[in-house]
Symmetry: C2
Subunit: 126 residues, 2 copies
């Protein structure tokens, strides 16, 4: 009675959906957007938060609030700031704690990316 | 100025959070609850939907609606039903399409479980 499914036709319509993040004491502290901001801060040689924020399409203020929110939730500084620097007007740099969180997130992301390859399915990370 | 984070103390407070599901044509069709229902149907030798639903703490009707929703979203039957059987009153069984979806989900879950082991972090799947 049952028709055999035409898997060749159906398979491309199936996707693996996923959302992932880091938690600290059960509070969400780092999802894909916030991790991208930290990564942009890390790679920005001038320590410009404006530039790092811009790459995420965030305003300076929005980015700053994200940093403060992560710090509040973990109870520890994730950035240090200072005056002056090449661009003038101040610089920002990840602390060891900020780097540590980013590192865990990146390892996590790496492992997740491997699943897509291994299972041969399209993954949609949101 | 910056205090070194005491990672031994902080690390146990960090968890990997995750939510994952299957999509068909961009519609969610199988998350952890619905997949558990399909699994319970598959392993129930008598084909009792009541029993399978009960193991998920779902009512018969709630479970039935889930099955119909997946069928509507994929355009294909995921169960076949019949009258009689050991328990009387009818049986339910996964179609090849239902089994196929469950299999993809299980493989996906397996790979995700490996991440927890590999990274040595606690994972919280919701």
């Amino acid at each position: 009675m049952e028709n055999q499914p035409n898997l060749e036709e159906l398979k491309p319509k199936i996707k693996l959906g996923m959302k992932f993040w880091l938690e600290f004491e059960n509070k969400s502290i780092l999802g894909s957007g916030w991790a991208k901001l930290l990564k942009n801060i890390e790679k920005n040689k001038e320590g410009s938060l404006s530039h790092a924020a811009k790459e995420c399409n965030y305003s300076y203020k929005y980015a700053w609030n994200i940093l403060k929110r992560i710090e509040k939730r973990t109870g520890k500084a994730i950035v240090i700031t200072g005056k002056g620097g090449r661009g003038g007007g101040g610089w920002v740099k990840l602390t060891d704690w900020g780097l540590y969180l980013l590192e865990i997130y990146q390892k996590y992301l790496n492992e997740i990316t491997k699943i897509e390859k291994k299972l041969g399915e399209t993954m949609k990370i949101s």
